[in-house]
Subunit: 145 residues, 2 copies
DNA sequence: GGTGCATTGCTATGTGGCATAGCAGTAACC
DNA sequence: GGTTACTGCTATGCCACATAGCAATGCACC
């Protein structure tokens, strides 16, 4: 099991991420939602009236790829679109959407809490700061090779 | 910028992972290799003669998905296949493969080092332990909802 | 107050990672 | 020696993500 890749933070990061995502998807399956859908739902819950493009920028999802996500959530009756100006539309949770979003948030929080609880105690407090810093560090990348 | 998802380790983990992967892929582009190819190359370098299935298990890649990866690396002349027994084949680096693998390893190490260096100093030492523990924690998952 | 430019939501399309189902050939085990 | 397990493989589909281009709209600036 002495994996030559185990010493590479980037590789371990990727493996941890995909394992965690798989776990999350198991939780999400009963809702019939994908994790991308859920992230949008939670954003809109926090910022009612946010624009599709704005939400896309926050979630780092291209405008083109927002279309099917919004359409799916609207078709499920969780999301409403209201024209904000001639070109953009504000996103709002429907009543159903509010309920689902609250339930999802509870489930996800529970999942995340359980995940962190499974870490050795000494590492727990460092988890979120490390991840946040890594996100920032990886985003703020090179520019030059 | 007060993102309601920023407090969810799983979400931050995913964002960090995809940002880091994007950076890595930029490094890998000159080689014409994908990160999955590279991980296999490094595994074979560490364990010459390893079987396709064994490598797949280490990398958590399905047998079916190993096929095109091995084929690509073989077509590039980086990897050799030698029949181990009637059904399995041992994987070995070619001379070219050895060279490429060594160069890749250097590049990737440099990339990873730079990534970690961009973290606040107080967090650096915790990064790999936290990630490793998260990987393990996410893998060792629930079983029950 | 009209013109050039940026933005929005969208279609169409391609790619890469990952999953499952099924198959033929081989090995291992009783 | 017959069942069971494993290997490499084909075929196929899903999802996330990317790019190019479009019509409609808003905005800034002269």
């Amino acid at each position: 099991m002495s994996d030559p890749l185990a010493s590479l933070p980037g590789y371990v990061l990727r493996r941890a991420s995909s394992a965690a995502l798989a776990g999350l998807n198991r939780r999400l399956a009963p809702y019939g939602l994908r994790h991308a859908d859920v992230s949008l739902l939670l954003i809109v819950r926090d910022r009612p009236g946010i624009t599709q493009s704005e939400a896309g920028r926050m979630l780092d999802i291209q405008r083109a790829n927002m279309v099917p996500i919004v359409a799916r959530l609207e078709a499920k009756g969780l999301l409403d679109r209201r024209r904000a100006d001639g070109r953009s539309q504000g996103l709002y949770l429907s009543e159903d959407g509010e309920g689902q979003a609250a339930a999802l948030r509870r489930d996800i929080d529970a999942y995340e809490t359980a995940l962190i609880a499974r870490l050795p105690e000494a590492l727990r407090e460092h988890a979120l700061p490390v991840l946040t810093a890594l996100w920032q560090a990886a985003d703020a990348e090179p520019e030059q090779g």
